[in-house]
Structures are given as structure tokens and as C-alpha cells.
Symmetry: none
């Protein structure tokens, strides 16, 4: 049996693209749960298969290796950059930068909070991806910062914001969003996600409002 190769560069047995997509979605979602709970390196394929209710063989029909699953999980937490940018650019036409920033923070932090496990997991496991994929992942990550930068730049241009280093500020905003997931073991004891969003928004705005 020859293995075919799809656009992700991840091998499959099946050529039925739709089936591959749907099975992969199942595998990735379930594996995220399992890996987050037990750890990627600490979970072997037999356990994974058992936990997600599939056979080892079945998994390998839709995915070329264990690391492929890791890649798919991490990739899924990241590939939103373009998505944000589109929305932001149109919003900026009708709203103040401050308003757009508030909305962006709420949306981004909520989104990250929903995918909390996967986000925390990504922080942890990116370094064990092959270098080739690390590049893809970090490129995607840069898009989030770029999206945020667009808002900040606009605000500075309109005089709403006063920011010394826009990229650094955008970076701060993005990583503080991630921290809800990464440091949830600490933060969940001091506030809810909603409070976190409100309070961080206040803090951020105070530090950039001119």
C-alpha cells in the first residue's frame, strides 16, 4: 500500500479527502484532551487509541506519525491571524481604535480561554516539534501580534494612544491573553475569565491612553 500525501504534508492511507478531514478532526480534538491531561510524551499510542476510542491502526490511517498529531493540535490553536486582521480592518473604519482594541482583547482572550488546554499545551510542546514545523508555528504566532499591532498603530495615528514600542505592546497584549491558559493554575484562584478580561483591558488601556 502506497501512502498518499495531502496538502498539510501529513501522510494518509486514505484518498477520500472528506473522510480524512473528519477523522482527523476527531483525532485531534480527542487527542488534545488526552495529551493535555496526561502529557504528550507520557501518553503512548496504545493509551491514546484506547482513550479516544479508536484502534492504533485506525489512527495511523489518517495521520503519519505521533508527532503529526502534535503538529495538528498546535496548528489548530494558531491559525487565526488572517481571520482577525480582516475583521479588524473593517472595524477600524467605523470605530475608534480604543473600541476596536477592547473588542479585540475580549474576542482574543475569550477564544484563547475556550481553547485553554490547547493553548497551554502549545506553549509546552512547540519545542519538541521538528524545526521545520516550529517555523510554521512561530510564523502563525507572529500574525496574532501583527493583528494587534494594526489596532495600536491606528490609535497612535489618531492620537488616541501614546505608545513607545508598538510591537512590544502588541506582544504584551497577546501573551497576557495566553497567560490565562498557561498560568491558569494560579489565575483561576484570583479571578474568572470575564474578570480577567475586564481588568487586563483596564490595565492595558491605562498604559497606552494618551
Amino acid at each position: 500500500l502506497r501512502r498518499t500525501s495531502n496538502k498539510d504534508g501529513i501522510r494518509t492511507f486514505s484518498t477520500d479527502t472528506e473522510l480524512v478531514e473528519s477523522r482527523r478532526a476527531e483525532i485531534v480534538d480527542d487527542a488534545t484532551r488526552v495529551f493535555v491531561k496526561k502529557g504528550y510524551h507520557e501518553t503512548n499510542m496504545r493509551e491514546l487509541a484506547h482513550e479516544i476510542g479508536k484502534s492504533v491502526g485506525c489512527i495511523y490511517h489518517y495521520v503519519g506519525s505521533k508527532q503529526d498529531i502534535l503538529y495538528l493540535i498546535i496548528d489548530k490553536t494558531n491559525n487565526r491571524g488572517e481571520h482577525w486582521i480582516e475583521g479588524i480592518e473593517s472595524s477600524l473604519k467605523t470605530m475608534s481604535a480604543k473600541k476596536v482594541l477592547e473588542l479585540f482583547i475580549r474576542e482574543y482572550y475569550t477564544y484563547t480561554g475556550i481553547k485553554q488546554d490547547a493553548t497551554a499545551f502549545a506553549y509546552q510542546e512547540v519545542p519538541s516539534l521538528e524545526r521545520k514545523w516550529q517555523k510554521e508555528i512561530t510564523d502563525a504566532a507572529k500574525q496574532d501580534i501583527e493583528a494587534c499591532s494594526i489596532i495600536l498603530r491606528k490609535g497612535v495615528r489618531t492620537g488616541e494612544f501614546k505608545i513607545e514600542n508598538i510591537t512590544l505592546m502588541a506582544h504584551n497584549i497577546i501573551v497576557l491573553g495566553h497567560m490565562w491558559a498557561v498560568r491558569n493554575w494560579y489565575l483561576k484562584k484570583i479571578c474568572s475569565l470575564d474578570e480577567y478580561i475586564n481588568q487586563q483591558t483596564t490595565i492595558i488601556l491605562r498604559s497606552i491612553t494618551s
Copy 2:
């Protein structure tokens, strides 16, 4: 299997406490370098031994397992909480909270920056420690936040600062320090550590100055 154990609960064959201390220090320092470069899970004990110029057997004289090394590395990046607190409390007697905070940020970020690799490594690998040790590590981590909180509380009391949620703010300050290490792949392209410290100090102060 008679092995003595020292205060860390980490097994060793040697009873010469001083030798154990010094050999462990060597192992931990060298292993940090190797693990950071190649990854903890991706480096096997033979490679590690070769890279650090010791034999496998020699390593296992001073350490009970591979994970013990991981623990010692992570522990070393964390056990400073009490240290900060002492200095802070005495400084607060003679300086303004603002001044102490500036000094604290500079010191903490510099310290974290020097141990950049170990700090980033800790973020990545804490989840693969046994639960027992995770507790120890997170307890130590809380002390850093507590140290910072002391300064913020004082500033609020003296009216220098205006802060809605002190713990959250302290948490922000601490994690932004860590981010220099964790996100160095991105940040090093936009500023130096010194610039990072200066700019973050400005941002933080703007967001809390009353």
C-alpha cells in the same frame, strides 16, 4: 538497593555531602545547556553523559533518575522568592514604592534574563514532572508574585499607585519578566534585554501610577 537520600529526597550513592553538592551543581548546569539545546525528551542519557563529559554511571551516582535532573534544573530557576522579599522590605523603609518597583523589575528581569534558557525550559517542562514536584515548583513560583505584591501594596497604601487587583498586577509583572526568556525567539528581534526592561518598566508604571 541501598541508596542514601539527602534533604531534596533525591537519591545518591555517595555520603560525602560536599561532593554530592558540587557534582550535582556540575550536572545541573551542564544538563541545562544540553536539554535547552536538544530538548529534555529528545536527549537520551548516553548523549547527555557524553555532552557533559561524564559517564552515565557517574551521573547516576549523584542523581536517582533522569527526571531528578529535570527537577533540579527547574528548582534552581525558582527558589528565590524569600531572597527578594528580604531585600524589598528593607528597601521600602528608605525608598518610594515606585523606586523599589523599578529596582525590583530591573533585578528580577535581569536575573531571569541571565537564566533565560533555564526559565524557558521550566515553562516547557514543568508539566512533565511528577505531581508531587509540580506542587513544590508552583509554590516557589507563588513567592515571586508575593514579593512583587508587597511593593504594590505599599505603593497603594502611600497613594503612589492606584491598582484594582494587586495580585493580578503582580502576576503580570512577573510573567512579563519570564516572557523575555519564553518568547525570546520573537523579542530578541525587536529589542535588547536592557531596552525590554526600560520599556516594560514605563508601561507598567503608566498603568499603575495614580
Copy 3:
């Protein structure tokens, strides 16, 4: 590390009970041959796997450890107590104790003689089992002696035998059976198993016939 375990408390990855039974039977039989020839401690798992024509991984599907194999081998030479007792009790209803004892000796010694290697091996290796299993093994061993005691007691009651210490005599009969295997390096030079059985029967009967 999810592994199911069957009634023996010996771990396996398979849930197919029948397959487990049959593969274990193969492993135990073949391993007995190999261990007897090369020694348990002197044979490593790679060699064992090679000699029995299975892969190392395959062995570990059906058995949790090397010592499990040792236990299964030793257990197999022992778990017959109940079996004997049944037959003995029914025989004693229709035959004289002397006749039953003669038959028992012949059967027991023949059985032990067939499993010569395993019997000798058990004498040698029981001490290297964990204490928990040593108990199981010695309990099983006691049943053989009990089986023999039943015959002797009956004979004493009917006046056929005159025995000072029935348990000791039963013990003698059983261990002299084992000795064919354990001391075969010596005994095989002086008689055949058949001669051994006949002559020991004569000796035993002379010492207990009233």
C-alpha cells in the same frame, strides 16, 4: 500505562483470554527449556526471545516481566495438589492403602520425572521470586505432601502401615520424587527412572509396612 491483568495478576496487553493462554503456554514451555539449559539469570531477554522464536516485544505483550515467566514456570510444576487428592480418595475406597501408595509413587515420580527440568529449575529458582509468590509456591507444595499423607493415614488406620511421624514420611516420599530431577546429574548414572521408582517404592514400603 494501561495494562489489563488476568486472574494470575500477571499483566498482559491483550484482552483475548484464549490467545493469552495459548501464547503464555508457548512462552512458558519454551522458556523452561532455555532457562534450564542456560540458567535464568544467565539468559537475557534478547537471547530468550531469539531462542523461543518470538520478539522481545511479543513476549512482553503476554507477560509483565522476566520474573513473571519464572513464576509461571515454577507454578506449572506445582499446581497439582488438588488433582492428586481427588483420585486418591476415590482409589482408597476400592484398594488397599499399600496399593494406592504404590500407584501414587509411580504416578507422582513419573510426572515429576517428565517435568524433570522444570522441577530441578524450581528448586533452584524459587528463592529468587518475590516473597508474595514464594508463599503461593510453598502453599502449592504443601498440597502434594497432604495428598500423600492421606494415603499414609488411611494405611495406619487399617493397620497396614506403622508410621511414627506421618507428615515427615509423606515429606520424604515427595522429596525423594523431586530428587530424581534435582540430583539427576548423579542418579542417571546409577539407574533409570523406572528402576528408581521400583527401588524407592521397595525402600519406602519396607520402612512403613507393619
Copy 4:
């Protein structure tokens, strides 16, 4: 440092024969205790050294390898054959074979009983000696049987005994002596060594008295 070689063919660093003898005696006696308790294969040299209050290096000054110690232990439980024979032959000149046999059994069983641990240990570990030494050990073991045979032969000649197979009978007598040690886990619950000797003597004599 070259290693010299003494008459046993066991290497030493020291050429001071007397010191070697006395240190070896200490090592062998203490090691017997340790190996009997924890098992030969289950005790490593570090543990052994610790338990017998010597350093690893010190042991290796007087003994060439771990197996050498095993050999010396086993050898010590066996090399008595000639000793018995001498005494027996002179006794037979003045006493009846029956009387000499009684004395022999008492002495041999007592001697074996005193060295119970070493005797049991020898049964267990002979197979893990190199073939060359196994030969030496079994040759020594044969001398015990030969010693006993001399008595039986004399008794048959004088008409005191009636024995079908003298060697087998001698073998029985010897191994029943060993069994006190080997099966002590069972026998100690049913009689004392003294009772064991008395009762076995009775049983043996009943089976050979004409």
C-alpha cells in the same frame, strides 16, 4: 599492579598468604549470611560490601570476582568427604555397621544442620557456577555418598543390612540430610533437628535392617 594467583586459582592482590586466608574467611562467612538472606543475584557488590563492613575495593583485594565468593561459599559446604571416610573406616573396625551408620547420620545431619543456610544456598546456586567449578563441586558431593556407601557395604557384608541398591540408599541418606536445610521452611514446623535425626534414623534403619 599484577595479580598473583593462589592454589585455588582465585586471584588476589596480596601475596601474604596468611592475610589472604583470614580475610577470605571473613568475607566468605559474612557473604554467606548476606547472600542467604537476600539472594546471590539480588545482592550487588556495593550492598555486600556495606553489609559485611568492608569496602568494595577491599573485597577485590582478596577475591577476583563476585563468582569467586560464590564458589568459596559452596566449596566450604562440601569439602568434607575425605574427612568422614577416615573416621568411618576406623570406627568400622570396632563397631557394628548399624552403630556406625547411626553415628554417621547424627554427625552428618548435625553438621549439615549447623551450616543450614550454606547448604540450602549451595543447592540453589551451584547451577550458576561456571562448568569447571560445577565439576569440582559435584565431585566433592560424590565423596559424601561414597563415605556413606562404605558403611552400608560393610553392613551388607556382615549381614546386618539387606539393601538392593547400595548407592541409591546412600544417596537417599545423604539427600535426606540436605533436606533439613533445603526444606527447612516446611520441616521446622513439624519437628526439631534432633527429632528429625532420630526419626529419619529409625525410618532408614527399618528399610535396610535384614
